[in-house]
Symmetry: none
Subunit: 284 residues, 2 copies
């Protein structure tokens, strides 16, 4: 909830003096954010500590922190809030809502991803002799995307979206094999079994999945991603965007680890497909 609204709704919970502070802030919030605690105290005709206590009552660290929160709530509207699509939303409305929800999801995901886990995953990937990407259902396209990306790195890669092929591939796994498993829930039985099978064959298993899930526990290394999935919609949407972005992060880490010479070869891959394209008009 927006800070200004919070003050409004908590008005009855405040003490007499605190309410005076609230009144002053509600009357001219723009003045409040630029005032010092002394000025504001004088305006509300209370003591400075009262203002400070008022701030703490609103779950802020103190006066400066409170001003920060207030400033944000004054900056028209909260940015990317996951908003549910309504029955009677027009194209304009649902288009915006979906995009904003996606951005909000990425933001949540970003905060939940542990960079150290990313770093260790990059370690494992750079040392791999062979990388396999596995995903079922909605995650199969994620696995395909990963394959497409790492393929350009001139590393042996495969990708499966079929349980039987995954299992067969695990049987042939060796110490140099690295498997990357994608699963939003981390509870798909088949995937958990595949992870176990792979580890039994000494392969390294990186899971990109939910925190504290069976798959996360079964993997050598788990990059856990928290995504506020829209439960109204019966289709996973936000999770795959988050997973794809994790792929980008891993790919970036990979190229950074390999150094500048490696990037030249990427450039050549890109140039290889140039001929298949229509020239872009150069005068634009």
């Amino acid at each position: 909830m927006n800070t200004l609204e919070k003050i409004q709704s908590n008005l009855s919970n405040f003490s007499k003096s605190e309410r005076k502070v609230a009144e002053v802030i509600l009357t001219s919030p723009q003045t409040a954010i630029h005032a010092s605690i002394a000025t504001l105290a004088k305006m509300a005709d209370v003591s400075e500590p009262t203002v400070n206590r008022f701030c703490r009552r609103l779950d802020t660290k103190g006066f400066p922190d409170f001003k920060l929160h207030l400033a944000q709530s004054l900056a028209n509207g909260t940015p990317y809030v996951s908003r549910h699509v309504d029955e009677d939303d027009g194209p304009d409305s649902y288009t915006n809502k979906i995009f904003e929800s996606s951005m909000a999801a990425l933001d949540t995901a970003r905060q939940s991803v542990d960079p150290m886990a990313v770093n260790r995953a990059v370690d494992i990937l750079t040392q791999a002799q062979h990388i396999s990407f596995f995903g079922l259902g909605a995650s199969s396209s994620v696995a395909h995307d990963a394959q497409n990306k790492f393929f350009r790195f001139n590393v042996p890669v495969t990708c499966f979206d079929d349980v039987l092929m995954m299992r067969m591939s695990c049987i042939n796994a060796t110490t140099g094999s690295v498997l990357v498993l994608f699963s939003h829930t981390g509870r798909t039985k088949a995937m958990v079994e595949v992870a176990k099978l792979a580890r039994d064959n000494n392969a390294q298993v990186i899971a990109i999945t939910a925190k504290d899930s069976p798959l996360a526990r079964e993997a050598t290394l788990a990059i856990t991603v928290e995504v506020p999935e829209d439960t109204d919609m019966f289709i996973p949407m936000a999770s795959r965007l988050a997973h794809l972005t994790v792929i980008d992060v891993l790919a970036t880490g990979f190229t950074l680890r390999r150094g500048p010479r490696f990037r030249d070869s990427l450039k050549r891959v890109k140039e290889a497909i140039r001929e298949s394209r229509f020239e872009k008009p150069s005068h634009i």
Copy 2:
């Protein structure tokens, strides 16, 4: 202009030490607004007055005032600036940069997508007797994702990431066929030819691609998406996220058009895969 963007664009005008401050703030603006001038100075490895001078250079009264502005810019408008990954970025830094760039890309994409085009695409899709999704290279996983999504709608769908199959499929196309082509550049020769072939066979062609591209011109309807693609990285990253989100938008429009009864069948699809999962501990 948003403070964060202002820092980004003024980067060259700053002195060496000021740039260090800018880097720290851009890397984690959320940390910056909660830090004291001393903490920030230490993080950037500069002196406190340098931080202060940095603030003034951005037309603020001083450090606290700067934090207020920054807080506001994080709240409204575009908080996420597309930022390039540096050679010496640590895991923490590049993880954040990639996520933020992705969010910034989605924001740009959102502003460029025409909701009316979306609406017309939904019209066409709801009336389709058969839907095919085509994508090559990095777009093939996008097409797969679309297939997975629309498959749940109990509509006949196919998906190809192979030019020959695409062409064969076009030959058999009829008036009720709808093709959805994904291409970031809209300049892939093969795709443009496929679009032409399909239209010659009276199929409807929806292109999700770049504005004013050959493919956009060749299609019955184009949903044009503008994406600030990072040209340093020789791999398309942001574009596919934008295209996937467009799929979500189309899928949402589709379900809304079909009405509430339709959603029950989606629910059943979801329940069908429940058995394949480990139960989630209910006490959490």
